[in-house]
C-alpha cells in the first residue's frame, strides 16, 4: 500500500508548544506561592462552599514554600518568557497561515457539539474536519485567548496605577484578580482534558507533536494537479 508522509506540526509550532509547558508550569508554581498569602477563592453554590482553594493538604503535598516574595520574584521573571512565547506563537500562526487550521467559524459550534457527543460515546461518526476537528479548533483558539487573558489580567494587577485604564476595563482590581485566578484553573482543566484526549488518540497523534509528521494512506488514483509544491 502506498503511503504519504504529512507534515502536521512545523518545527516552530512544536518548539513553541513544548516550551510553553515549563513556562506555564513555572507561572503556576510561582502563582501558588503568591496566592497562598491570600487564599480567598472558592467554589460555592448558593453560598454553600463546595471547595476552597486550597486545602492545607494541597500545599503540603506540593511542598509549597510559604514565601510570597520569592513567588513574586519568579512570577515577574517568567512572565516575560511566557508572554514572548505566546506572542511568538500567535505571530507564527498568522504569518504561516496555520491559523486556518485552528480558528473556528460560526458553523464550528454545532459540529463541535457533535464531536463532544462522539467523544462521550453517545453518537458514532465524526463530522468532516481538517487537521483538527471543530471542538479542537474551539479549544485551541480558546486557550490562546486564555493565555492573552492571563497576561492582560496579570498586567492590570501588577501595575494598577500605570495601567489603571486596563484595570478599570476589567471591572477593577478585585475582578482582575478573580479573572486571573479562574483563568489559571481553566488552564489546569484544559491541560487535563488535553492529556486525556492525547492518551485516547494514541501514539501516532502524540508522535506527530514530536516528529512533526504522520503517515497517511495515499489515494489509489494519482493525486490530481497539486496546488503548489513545497519543500520537504
Amino acid at each position: 500500500m502506498a503511503k504519504q508522509i504529512e507534515i502536521k506540526h512545523t518545527l516552530a509550532i512544536r518548539w513553541l508548544h513544548w516550551v510553553n509547558f515549563p513556562l506555564l508550569a513555572m507561572m503556576m508554581w510561582s502563582g501558588l506561592l503568591i496566592y497562598w498569602a491570600n487564599p480567598v477563592f472558592r467554589l460555592s453554590v448558593f453560598g454553600y462552599e463546595l471547595f476552597h482553594f486550597f486545602p492545607q493538604g494541597f500545599y503540603d503535598a506540593l511542598g509549597i514554600p510559604y514565601r510570597l516574595a520569592e513567588g513574586l520574584q519568579i512570577h515577574f521573571f517568567f512572565m516575560w518568557l511566557f508572554a514572548i512565547n505566546g506572542l511568538a506563537y500567535i505571530l507564527y500562526l498568522i504569518v504561516s497561515g496555520e491559523w486556518r487550521a485552528i480558528l473556528p467559524v460560526l458553523g464550528s459550534f454545532p459540529r463541535a457539539f457533535r464531536v463532544a457527543l462522539h467523544d462521550a460515546y453517545i453518537v458514532k461518526g465524526l463530522p468532516p474536519q481538517g487537521k483538527y476537528n471543530d471542538a479542537q479548533r474551539i479549544a485551541y483558539t480558546l486557550v490562546i485567548v486564555m493565555g492573552a487573558g492571563s497576561v492582560v489580567t496579570g498586567l492590570s494587577i501588577y501595575k494598577p496605577l500605570q495601567l489603571s485604564w486596563l484595570t478599570s476595563l476589567l471591572g477593577g482590581y478585585e475582578w482582575a484578580r478573580w479573572l486571573h485566578f479562574w483563568l489559571t484553573i481553566a488552564f489546569v482543566l484544559f491541560f487535563l482534558v488535553h492529556v486525556i484526549q492525547v492518551a485516547i488518540a494514541g501514539w501516532a497523534n502524540f508522535r506527530s507533536m514530536i516528529s512533526g509528521r504522520d503517515v497517511v494512506e495515499a489515494p489509489l488514483a494519482p493525486v490530481p494537479a497539486p496546488d503548489a509544491e513545497v519543500g520537504v
Partner: protein
C-alpha cells in the same frame, strides 16, 4: 511535498486550510522515514528537556537571585517609563469604605503619646540638624482627603478614606536641600524597627499623603497613629505607620 485541500463541507475548507503531503511512497520507506523523524524529534526534545532541567538545577541560588534582580530592575525601568505623575488611581465615594483590616504591627510596640510625639525631618534646606514638628504643626498644612483602594502585597485590597497632608505639600513647606535633592526618601518608625524607602516620583504623587485620619476619625494606634503614609500608588507594605523620622 505536495499540498492539497481538505475535502468536504467543513471549517477547514471554508478557511482554505491546506495539507502538506509527500509524494506517494511505499509502506516500507514511510516507516523508515518516520522512524528517522521520530528519532530526531525525541533526540532534540530530550536534549533540550534534560539541558533545561539540569541547567536550572545547576544554576546556583546566587545566580538565580542575580537573574531575578536583573529582571526586577528591568521591570522597574518599564514601570517607571509607564509612570505619569498626573495619572491617578481611581477614587471611590466615601460610603464605599470597607470594614477596616489590621495587618502588620512591626515598629508599633508600646504606646505613643501624640502630645509628646514629634516628627523628625532630616535633610532640610538651611539646617544640618533634624527639624522636630508636632502633629498640630503638620495639620496647619493644606488638608487633603481621598478614598482609595489600599492594596496589600498579599493580594487583598480594602477601600479606605484617608485625610492628611499631601507629601508634595509637605515637601513644598519643608523643602529639602536644593543642591542635594535626594532621589529617595527614607522613613522610619520612632524605634527604627520598621523603615521604608520611597522613590521621589512616587512619594510626590498627589495621592501620597501623610495621613492623620482614617475613615473620618483620628488614626487608631494599630493603623499608625499619630501619622502614617497613605498611598494609592504603592502596596500597604510601603505605607509606613507611626512615622518617627523622614
Amino acid at each position: 511535498m505536495k499540498t492539497k485541500k481538505h475535502a468536504g463541507n467543513n471549517t477547514a475548507e471554508l478557511l482554505g486550510e491546506k495539507r502538506r503531503l509527500s509524494p506517494a511512497i511505499s509502506d516500507e520507506v514511510a516507516k523508515q522515514k518516520m522512524a528517522g523523524y521520530t528519532r530526531r524529534g525525541f533526540l532534540a526534545g530530550g536534549i533540550a528537556a534534560v539541558a533545561g532541567i539540569l541547567g536550572w538545577r545547576w544554576t546556583s541560588d546566587e545566580t538565580k537571585l542575580v537573574l531575578y534582580r536583573r529582571s526586577f530592575e528591568f521591570n522597574e525601568r518599564v514601570s517607571a517609563a509607564l509612570y505619569r505623575p498626573s495619572r491617578l488611581a481611581p477614587e471611590f465615594s466615601p460610603d464605599r469604605v470597607s470594614p477596616r483590616r489590621v495587618n502588620g504591627m512591626e515598629g508599633l510596640a508600646g504606646e505613643v503619646n501624640t502630645d509628646e510625639w514629634r516628627l523628625a525631618v532630616a535633610g532640610l534646606a538651611g539646617r544640618a540638624d533634624d527639624l522636630l514638628l508636632t502633629l498640630d504643626e503638620i495639620k496647619l498644612l493644606p488638608r487633603t482627603e481621598m478614598t482609595v483602594e489600599l492594596k496589600c502585597i498579599e493580594g487583598w485590597s480594602v477601600i479606605v478614606n484617608w485625610a492628611g497632608v499631601r507629601f508634595s505639600d509637605f515637601a513644598a513647606a519643608y523643602s529639602p536641600r536644593p543642591d542635594d535633592l535626594p532621589p529617595y526618601v527614607s522613613l522610619s518608625t520612632p524605634d527604627q524597627k520598621y523603615f521604608v524607602g520611597w522613590d521621589m516620583p512616587s512619594i510626590m504623587h498627589p495621592q501620597t499623603l501623610l495621613a492623620y485620619e482614617m475613615n473620618g476619625a483620628p488614626l487608631l494606634p494599630e493603623h499608625g497613629a499619630p501619622l502614617r503614609l497613605a498611598s494609592a500608588t504603592k502596596y500597604g507594605i510601603k505605607q509606613i505607620k507611626r512615622i518617627g523620622r523622614i
